[in-house]
Amino acid sequence: MSTTTYAVRDSATMLRRNLKHMARYPSQTLMLIGLPLLFLLLFVYVFGGTMGAGLPGAPAEDRGGYLTFITPGILMMTVASVSIGTAVSVATDMTNGIIDRFRTMAIAKVSVLTGHVLGAMIQTALALAVVFGVAFLLGLETAASATQWLSLVGLLALLSFAMTWFTVGLGLASPNPETASNWPMIFVLLPFAGSGFVPVESMPTGLRWFAEHQPFTPIMDAFRGLLAGSPGGSEVLWAIGWCVVIGLVGYLWSRRLYRTRAAN
């Protein structure tokens, strides 16, 4: 068999291993999906009445409108939340003796990491399906066409791929699983300091500047545009651009860390 065939076969083996881990440790997956759901319910039912009324041109107590507004932020948060689990499982692997076993075997080196990436993407897809399901139950309305839905799914997949590689890097950089679980929390909270939950125009100058320029804002704006059936071309391009940058940095960083940590 060729090197590529081995890489695919080994990655599939590692993916099976990671899926088994998820099945054996369902509380983690539930927690990771639960976090964005909790925020969704909290923001729609607790804050929704007041917050919705504050949206430009909204009638009083517009929970439905606010649900539509925050769904992109919740989607972002879902992807970020699953990535906590990825960072933790990568860090756990690295602190366990099993990583040395893998390294002394004639397997495709990248497969240890691709197994995590593929597993996390399946987990993210599951989480996003649940979040979408609940959002629709709560009354999410969308004017997206089939093509726009397809674009949305594609963009979510790209984002999840990029974020996963980045958090694989975080997991590799962390000395232990506890530290690894802390870093991605920033990504869960970052939608708040962006266009996730309130229009950036309502923020004070300094924060507004940050919110307008941070990578999650154009991504969330692109989601919002696609869901509304009127995507802005530049937002989508910026979103794709940021995902490519995050993913590429994450991948190169992970590859480098995996090699150098091998030499310790």
Binding site: Y6, T13, G97, D100, R101, F102, T104, I107, A262
Partner: protein, 315 residues
């Protein structure tokens, strides 16, 4: 096909961390089908040596060929030829014993049917059949070690590295593991192991390298190493303390011990010296026993390094 006779060949191996030289110029050769034990206290550089030879760590200088391949330039070929059981448990605790072995079979690119056969055979051989479908997290220390070693053997390596394989095991598990290593050797597998237990090296190894401060301070068979130290002695058990004193006067080199009722004499191991000694003792029943002690590896280690071995188990 070239015929190889050396499973491991190492020349001038060096490795430093900053100013600290962990491996300070090691040369060694391990012939195929033999057991080589690297013996030394904690911090002697044993694990570093194993990590270099198993491609986990690049050396700073020197040549190392494992299974005929250069560890640096032909790392993948080396990996395909070896099995490694590290010092710390390398089992996946969320998977069952059977799944762990299956994982190794899949990563070893075994065919499906062959994989199933190998996994079942190893479960039997390592006495893990009853626990096969339990998660490894529930295993005892000895069971984890057995699973760990079984995982190393899935792909059928002809050369295996065992880094302190019995550290932290109870005496029974240790003996079980020794038995497994002997079986492997009987199958023609080459074993490179590290240990801080002198008895273990003595029990298992064809050749022993004594590592201290990153240097091989001695190398040879257990018997050869013991010959390096002239510390043998004869111990006589004596009926009463009066006769102890009497013997001590009679034999100028004797060290009497009135409380233990023994007399100890230095001895070079030769039959002549033993006969001369016996001729000098009256056969009137006062000497109730005689024991000839050859030096053990503890004596060797002390004589070679100037300090005793540390026998504590690393945390």
């Amino acid at each position: 096909m070239t015929t190889r006779t050396s499973a491991i060949e190492v020349a001038g191996l060096r490795k430093s961390y900053g100013d600290h030289e962990v491996i300070a110029g090691v040369d060694l050769t391990v012939p195929e089908g033999t057991v080589y034990a690297l013996l030394g206290p904690n911090g002697a550089g044993k694990t570093t040596a194993v990590r270099i030879l198993s491609t986990l760590l690049p050396a700073d200088a020197g040549e190392a060929r494992v299974a005929g391949y250069d560890v640096r330039r032909e790392a993948d070929q080396v990996r395909a030829s070896i099995g490694v059981t590290g010092q710390f448990s390398a089992v996946d605790e969320l998977l069952t014993g059977r799944e762990n072995l299956r994982l190794m079979a899949d990563l070893g690119h075994l065919h499906r049917r062959r994989a199933t056969t190998v996994v079942e055979r190893l479960l039997e051989r390592f006495d893990l059949v009853d626990a096969a479908d339990r998660r490894a997290a529930t295993y005892s220390g000895g069971m984890k070690r057995r699973l760990d070693l079984a995982m190393t053997l899935v792909a059928g390596p002809r050369l295996i590295f065992l880094d302190e394989p019995t550290t932290g095991l109870d005496p029974r598990s240790r003996r079980e593991l020794w038995g497994i290593v002997r079986e492997l050797v009987a199958d023609g597998v080459t074993v490179f192991l590290t240990t801080q237990y002198l008895e273990e090296a003595d029990q298992l190894a064809d050749r022993i390298g004594v590592l201290d401060g990153g240097r091989l301070v001695a190398e040879g068979t257990a018997a050869e190493l013991k010959r390096l130290v002239p510390g043998g002695h004869i111990e006589l058990q004596v009926a009463d303390s009066e006769r102890v004193a009497e013997l001590a006067r009679q034999l100028p080199e004797a060290i009497p011990n009135a409380e233990a009722l023994t007399v100890t004499l230095p001895h070079d191991g030769s039959l002549t010296a033993l006969r001369r000694l016996l001729d000098g003792i009256d056969d009137d029943g006062a000497v109730t026993g005689l024991a000839v002690h050859t030096p053990d590896l503890d004596d060797v280690f002390l004589a070679l390094t100037g300090h005793p071995t540390t026998d504590e188990v690393p945390s």
